[in-house]
């Protein structure tokens, strides 16, 4: 899901061509960047296309590299510089004219509202380039099936099989059962502690609610979040999925995102993809034509007092539970899961002192097992920069040995990367501990060059690059005896300390996308 491609090959090439030509729209630029971030294949195409352009431009010189430095290119560059200077003078003159005339324009336009207001059922248009018209859906007089309840549980369980089992017992305590239909216009309320529900809308979009939450189904592709927290997962066919709250609107453009309504604010976190957010006016509830695009790892707060959108450096803490549930991650102790890219901003680090933050990082890193060389490799182009030269000789464990040894061709599986960050800004030693349970097999855990905790997937002879920046316990004084990391299949138990400097640990986990290829989280046949 996270690796879903926004563009197909043809439209991707068109977007890349537009980027190089400088005429890509703002929306397509966001889409392109998002796809390049998440898809190694798209990055490869981008580089190949750029190289083709460069090769065409250098065509006359390719036989003779020295010609790059020719007098002709120098002269052309100088000419270009002159043209730019002329252009910049032109722009300056234009700017002066605009400044001189702007008071007149303002006076003429006074009396018209600076915002484009509209009522329910009417339309507004964003003003920052994305510009999609948003219509508040009015549920039809004759209700139709808008969604189906597909999962229900009382505890955040990381394993899908267990979720289905718990769902039956939960269903007896609330007036909904798995398989029930929710009609358009109907309210779905999930009360009580630590309950989660998964609804599949008729459009294909999936909504996960964490209790206490309440939504109203506006149409087959739109919900109103009245209170609580939800995660939306939107397949390409449901692009345009809308979440309305009292404070604003989120329009999906192919993504996974979390929304929380809390103390007269609305918090939005994009887990992957792109959304567009618009605030609503405090008094009238009208949608204001101020849209902000939000991409993977970004968060924002919408408030109607006054109506405004503020990009925030992190997700609101209340989103943690529902995001953990969605990601099949269970944390305890000091560990907290936050969607977003590290590192933390400095001002934020203070808020997190005393906690171990688990960041979701790079998704779907291909790991290839080569039966001939008996080696396991992370594909270079998709690995976090500091891991570029990672490789490991595999000592095949019992449960994978058979399938690996029978393989005649390289086998690839995908892993997700998570970064554990421990911060102690005030230079005192802090010791924190906790557990992380993934709904998937832990492939490897890396701490530093000298401190390596791994599962039996990866063993020894790790070659670390010089750029590896993890501060390991060996560099932190005499209390290193408190550092302890234990890995057991899908679970990591840890006790870590930090003083002054940040401490990090990188965890590679079998990708959720490849979960169907395994049995109970263990490798069964990776060659499917």
């Amino acid at each position: 899901m996270a690796d879903r491609e926004i563009f197909n090959r043809k439209s991707l090439l068109s977007a890349i061509e537009g980027w190089y030509a400088g005429n890509l729209t703002e929306l397509d630029a966001y889409r392109l960047k998002e796809q390049l971030r998440t898809s190694s294949e798209s990055r490869q195409i981008f580089v190949e296309y750029g190289d083709l352009l460069a090769s065409l431009e250098m065509n006359s010189c390719c036989e003779n590299p020295e010609a790059v430095d020719s007098f002709l290119s120098s002269a052309l560059l100088a000419e270009e510089r002159a043209n730019r200077r002329f252009l910049s003078w032109g722009v300056a003159v234009l700017a002066v004219l605009i400044l001189a005339l702007s008071p007149l324009v303002w006076i003429l336009s006074k009396g018209n509202s600076s915002r484009h207001h509209f009522a329910d059922g009417s339309e507004a248009q964003g003003s920052q380039g994305l510009g999609h018209k948003i219509t508040i859906p009015v549920p039809p007089e004759t209700p139709v099936r808008g969604a189906t309840l597909v999962e229900l549980t009382e505890q955040p369980q990381p394993w899908p099989d267990e979720i289905a089992g718990d769902g039956e017992s939960s269903a007896t305590q609330i007036p909904w059962a798995i398989g029930d239909s929710i009609l358009t216009g109907q309210v779905f309320s999930l009360q009580g502690p630590s309950r989660y529900a998964r609804l599949r809308l008729e459009s294909g979009a999936v909504v996960i609610l964490e209790s206490p939450s309440e939504i109203r189904l506006l149409s087959t592709n739109a919900v109103e979040l009245r209170s609580g927290r939800i995660v939306g997962m939107v397949p390409p066919e449901a692009t345009g999925f809308l979440v309305f709250t009292e404070y604003g609107v989120v329009r999906d453009i192919g993504t996974e995102f979390a929304v929380c309504v809390h103390e007269q604010n609305m918090f939005v976190s994009v887990l992957s993809g792109l959304v567009e957010c618009m605030p609503r006016a405090e008094t009238t509830g009208e949608i204001l034509a101020t849209s902000v695009p939000l991409v993977s790892g970004e968060h924002l707060k919408l408030s109607n007092v006054p109506s405004e959108i503020v990009k925030t450096p992190r997700s609101h803490a209340d989103l943690e539970g529902v995001v953990c549930y969605h990601r099949r991650i269970q944390t305890s102790g000091d560990v907290r899961f936050l969607a977003g890219r590290p590192p933390l901003a400095k001002k934020d680090a203070a808020e997190y002192q005393g906690a171990i933050c688990l960041f979701e990082e790079t998704k779907n890193i291909p790991v290839t097992w080569n039966p001939e060389s008996q080696s396991l490799r992370f594909s270079k182009e998709n690995v976090p920069p500091e891991m570029l030269s990672f490789w490991a000789e595999e000592v095949a464990p019992d449960h994978v040995a058979e399938s690996l040894q029978n393989a005649s061709e390289p086998i690839t599986l995908h892993v997700d990367s998570y970064l554990v960050n421990l911060q102690s800004p005030d230079k005192r030693t802090i010791i924190r501990s906790g557990d992380i349970v993934f709904g998937r097999e832990v492939i490897a855990v890396f701490r530093s060059e000298k401190t390596l905790s791994v599962t039996d997937w990866v063993s020894h002879d790790i070659e670390f690059p010089r750029s590896w920046k993890v501060v390991g316990p060996e560099a932190r004084g005499s209390n290193e005896g408190n550092d302890n990391v234990v890995v057991q299949q899908d679970q990591i138990s840890m006790e870590l300390q930090a003083s002054g400097a940040g401490d990090q640990m990188r965890i590679f986990v079998r990708s959720a996308d490849s979960h169907s290829q395994s049995s109970g989280g263990r490798v069964k046949n990776q060659n499917n």
Partner: protein
């Protein structure tokens, strides 16, 4: 060492369009001669020569590297020029056992990141992380890219006569879009569209050629 005088000369020549654009070689050749005379000129000459040789040997690769990450050819050239200056200043730190091109690419990447921070419109700019990812793909795909370049000339030959003439006029002979539109009797937009279509055709042609090679093996 490249010092204030030479940097000033570079600055002057950049803002004066009537002067020639200083190439890395020009810039380096314009060493502060008095400084050289006083301080071991022979050694300095050897160092200069070595640097120029290494730089020129890598210049094409560095340009291709920058061009992939920068949307405009002129800006890409400027990035490489700026990186060349930094390379010279830090040349003493270069470990002769290392690959110069790889060392230099790190500098180019930094300059490219700076360029993106100032890029307008800003929504086209890439963040550092994305640049790193693209750059690592570029660095890891050298052999493949070289193969693609080899196939490119064959694909240009396979274009229709009209498209081939257009591509050659624009890229090889440097004819502007305006001049082409006047000569061909079509609008400038039509020329841009034709160039765009032809580039995409070339890209797919190169891919097909490589796929065929793969099947043959």
């Amino acid at each position: 060492m490249i010092g204030g005088i030479n940097e000033f000369r570079l600055f002057v020549s950049r803002v004066d369009p009537s002067s020639e654009w200083p190439t890395p070689v020009d810039t380096l050749k314009s060493q502060d001669s008095s400084n050289l005379t006083e301080n071991a000129p022979a050694q300095q000459g050897v160092k200069e020569e070595e640097f120029i040789r290494l730089l020129m040997g890598s210049y094409r690769a560095l340009y291709l590297y920058a061009r992939t990450l920068v949307p405009d050819a002129v800006d890409a050239e400027e990035c490489v020029q700026e990186a060349s200056l930094h390379l010279w200043r830090r040349f003493d730190e270069f470990d002769r056992r290392e690959n110069f091109s790889r060392w230099a690419r790190g500098f180019v990447r930094k300059i490219v990141k700076n360029f993106h921070r100032k890029m307008r419109p800003s929504y086209l700019a890439f963040d550092d992380d994305l640049i790193d990812r693209l750059a690592s793909v570029q660095g890891a795909s050298q052999e493949l890219l070289e193969l693609r370049r080899e196939r490119l000339s064959g694909c240009v030959e396979r274009l229709s006569t009209r498209d081939r003439k257009l591509i050659r006029a624009y890229y090889e002979y440097g004819e502007s879009v305006g001049a082409l539109s006047r000569r061909l009797g079509v609008s400038e937009a039509a020329v841009y569209q034709a160039l765009r279509r032809t580039r995409l055709m070339l890209f797919e042609c190169v891919q097909r050629a490589l796929d065929k090679d793969g099947e043959a093996h």
